[in-house]
Amino acid sequence: MNINYLASLIAVIVLFLLVYVGVEAAGLRYFFGVLLPYLAVIIFIIGFVKKIVGWAKTPVPFRIPTTCGQQETLSWIKPAKIDNPTTGSGVFVRMLLEILCFRSLFRNTKMELREGDKLSYEWEKWLWLFALAFHYSFLTVLLRHLRFFLEPVPGCVKFLESIDGFLQIGLPGIMISGIILLAALLFLLLRRILIPQIKYISLASDYFPLFLIIGIAITGILMRYFTRVDIAGIKELTIGLVTFHPTVPDGGIGGLFYVHLFFVSVLIAYFPFSKLMHLGGIFMSPTRNLTTDTRATRHINPWNYDVKVHTYEEYEEEFREKMIGAGLPVEKES
């Protein structure tokens, strides 16, 4: 047993018990339904902004993009405008591909030693595919949830739902995003547990968000397909939250919803202090978001300072005799 995923799993179970008992036994509906969500959002906003501002305030002393293609040099050599971008628009496309398509991850290969001594590198698309599936399905689910916060429900959200539910099986109709989300989460979790190298590098803080989001997904799916929850009551609460007139409808909503909401609150509050901040970091990574025209345009280092150097004069002073002897020109003859 691995302490890291065990600890994370236990943490999520404890959280579950906390809210379930808190709501069902102690009746802390207002606490879990209103106070904690507000608190989580406040922590999220402050934490997120602080982190981003902290990064943004830190100087970029050198322009160190990783060049992943031909540089722009002689006019007749075709430069890689996106992978080695010398212009802002090149960088923009590079970043767009990185953020929307996970381009670098797409390059992923798997190394193997074959026939005893032959190295091979095979294209490894699964991590890329499931990472993409996870992020996009999560985004879809998130956007779908706007229906709980907006009245009337905007057309685009309804449209998204109709695409998401295109399979039209069952009643209520199956939303494909939820299924993909859960499948992708399981993939990401299993690879951490089953691939020895990945298991070796994984920390509790890698498992925790996975378990937490799995918890969110499962409670969501349970509510939608398996138990009867009071949708109107839930919407009353969520609308109340966003309009700053929080109310907790009496009864009906059920513990499951509070678990769902609590998990989401924990995730939001945890976000700025965790690796999940890659959401912000990806935009600011200096190996990706800078132009590579470093020999054509001077980059300024705000804290550049003078250093002690060994000057030519000092050099000549030490070697003058020898230089003269060898017929090398000197500044001073003696």
Partner: protein, 541 residues
């Protein structure tokens, strides 16, 4: 100590990590895998901290009493100064995409050579010292305190990274473990924990202008030897000039090529090329003061890099040249391309580089004012300014190794290939996952080209050698071309070890072999004195 045989080394490459967690697996500093400690004289000469004799195998590393405080403060300072460092400390998701991209992990199987884990060595301390989660949750949050064992682990693994940046190509957030290694080595240097293969070249370079400590008269002597050798092979007498004021162009190249085979043939190539171009209007000088293109300061700290690099512009200014031409070198070009102008510019006393032979304006170098010899030669060939006989390289079946820094810190990929294709008739690429931006390191970069860590070097160079072996077996490749002086020193033993029968050459050597110099005698050998194909039979008949 006898190094392991290739088959023994392969057997060691189990890529299965230990059962115990990495934080609970203490570092084992093993012979053959580490470089000797810095010589105190070299550290002192540079005025860097804590100069003293020490031995990595000793328990006591003779650290200053407040070393933890020094590391903590140094860490803080770098987090505040480098956005790269801060973001890379924060955003890694441990997806593992970088894990099997590192030649040291592939070649040693040591899990701490996975780039992500190399970075975690620092990140764990970062969490402990600078993050809320780490402070509250400790080990569960992946945090650990800075202890002497952690410090030793840093040292061992930060000098098992060649700062090649291959990992950063694959990371979804562009996390560059080389950058983290650079920061880590800076911190280690605050405690005087450098390796001698870096510290002494740096001190040499500071004093004599080059890593090898070649004094000015000796530098000239060495080039004069080449002049004689060239005359023997070609019948032409070349006349290089040194420290000459008023020349149009200053030429700077790594001193390694002046010093040892096979780099020497590349140096001879420069001399022949410049001689050839002289009548066409090339007015170029060498310098004994700026007699080093490379910059081992880069492997020490940003400040040391700047101190050494400063000479290039200073000498260009003193001599009053218009621009600088740079020779074949890897990390030298990362420094020039991404650091020099920022650190020691603006070079407003120079002019935007224009080729005196073709009139081509090197727009891409208009601010730095420094042009790469491969760019320069590609331009010459494109304009048909070089009379070439590629058949003089027919005894060679050539493949090309993209050196890490020019590939991933610059992107000079096509120029050398264009040149090779024009001076050689037999050129074969290695598999696509091992060249261009995905190229594999020679295993000896970033100052690790020592003798005592030969096992590490052979293991780290395994992926590169393996790809060479592939084209060697498939096409009979017998020559590995590169544009890096460290490669020219590091790859020959690597080839001997993994793929005997493959030699190593610089680009300019190939050019000089093919170049038909006016007034030359008929060549029967290449620059190395090896018989040219067709010539033996002709002589026999």
């Amino acid at each position: 100590m006898s190094e392991p045989r290739p088959d023994e080394l392969i057997r060691k490459m189990e890529h299965k990590p230990h059962q115990k967690g990495w934080m609970d697996t203490p570092v084992n500093i093993r012979k053959g895998m580490y470089c000797y400690a810095s010589n105190p004289k070299s550290v002192e000469y540079l005025g860097l901290p804590n100069a003293r004799a020490w031995n990595p195998l000793d328990v006591d590393w003779k650290l200053p009493p407040d070393w933890q405080e020094i590391i903590h403060k140094g860490f803080r300072e770098r987090l505040d100064k480098f956005r790269s460092f801060k973001i890379f400390m924060d955003v890694c998701v441990r997806c593992g995409a970088c894990a099997d991209k590192c030649h040291f992990f592939i070649g040693t199987g040591d899990p701490k050579n996975m780039p992500v884990l190399r970075a975690e060595l620092l990140r764990s301390v970062y969490r402990n010292d600078f993050t809320i989660a780490g402070k509250i949750l400790g080990k569960i949050a992946g945090a650990r305190e800075m202890t002497i064992d952690v410090l030793k682990e840093w040292w061992y693994y930060l000098f098992q990274c060649t700062e090649c940046r291959r990992c950063s190509v694959f990371c979804p957030y562009g996390i560059d473990t080389a950058e983290i290694t650079i920061m880590g080595r800076e911190l280690l240097n605050l405690l005087g924990l450098n390796i001698d293969w870096i510290a002494t070249p740096v001190a040499n370079c500071y004093r004599t202008g080059n890593h090898l400590g070649i004094q000015p008269h000796a530098y000239k002597d060495m080039l004069d030897f080449f002049v004689e050798d060239i005359e023997e092979v070609t019948g032409v007498k070349v006349e290089p000039s040194f420290n000459r004021k008023g020349a149009d162009i200053l030429f700077i190249t790594p001193s390694g090529d002046v010093f040892a085979d096979p780099g020497t043939y590349t140096a001879m190539g420069y001399l022949i090329l410049f001689h050839y171009l002289k009548d066409m209007g090339l007015d170029i000088t060498w310098s004994t003061y700026a007699s080093e293109g490379g910059n081992f300061g880069f492997f020490t700290s940003h400040e040391t890099m700047k101190r050494l690099n400063k000479k290039m512009y200073a000498e260009a200014k003193r001599l009053g040249v218009k621009w600088i031409l740079g020779g074949e070198c890897g990390h030298m070009w990362r420094v020039i391309n991404q650091y020099m102008d920022t650190m020691n510019g603006p070079a407003d006393f120079l002019e935007a580089p224009v080729s005196p032979i073709t009139g081509t304006k090197f727009e891409n170098a208009r601010s730095t004012k420094m042009v790469h010899i491969a760019e320069f030669m590609a331009d010459l060939i494109k304009h048909k300014k070089l009379k070439l006989d590629p058949s003089r390289n027919d005894h060679l079946k050539v493949t090309y190794h993209d050196s890490c820094n020019p590939a991933r810190g610059m992107g000079i990929l096509e120029e050398p290939r264009y040149v090779i294709n024009n001076v050689c008739n037999h050129f074969y690429e290695m598999p696509s996952n091992t060249i261009r931006e995905q190229t594999f390191c020679c295993g000896s970069g970033a100052g690790l080209n020592a003798g005592e860590n030969i096992e590490l070097r052979m293991a780290g160079g395994f992926p590169r050698a393996n790809a060479v072996k592939h084209v060697h077996q498939k096409y009979g490749v017998n020559m590995l071309a590169c544009i890096c002086a460290v490669d020219r020193a590091a790859l020959p033993p690597l080839m001997d070890y993994w793929v005997p029968e493959v030699g190593v050459t610089g680009l300019t050597e190939l050019v000089a072999n093919a170049l038909i110099v006016p007034g030359e005698a008929e060549r029967t050998t290449d620059l190395r004195g090896e018989e040219l194909q067709g010539k033996e039979e002709a002589e026999d008949a």
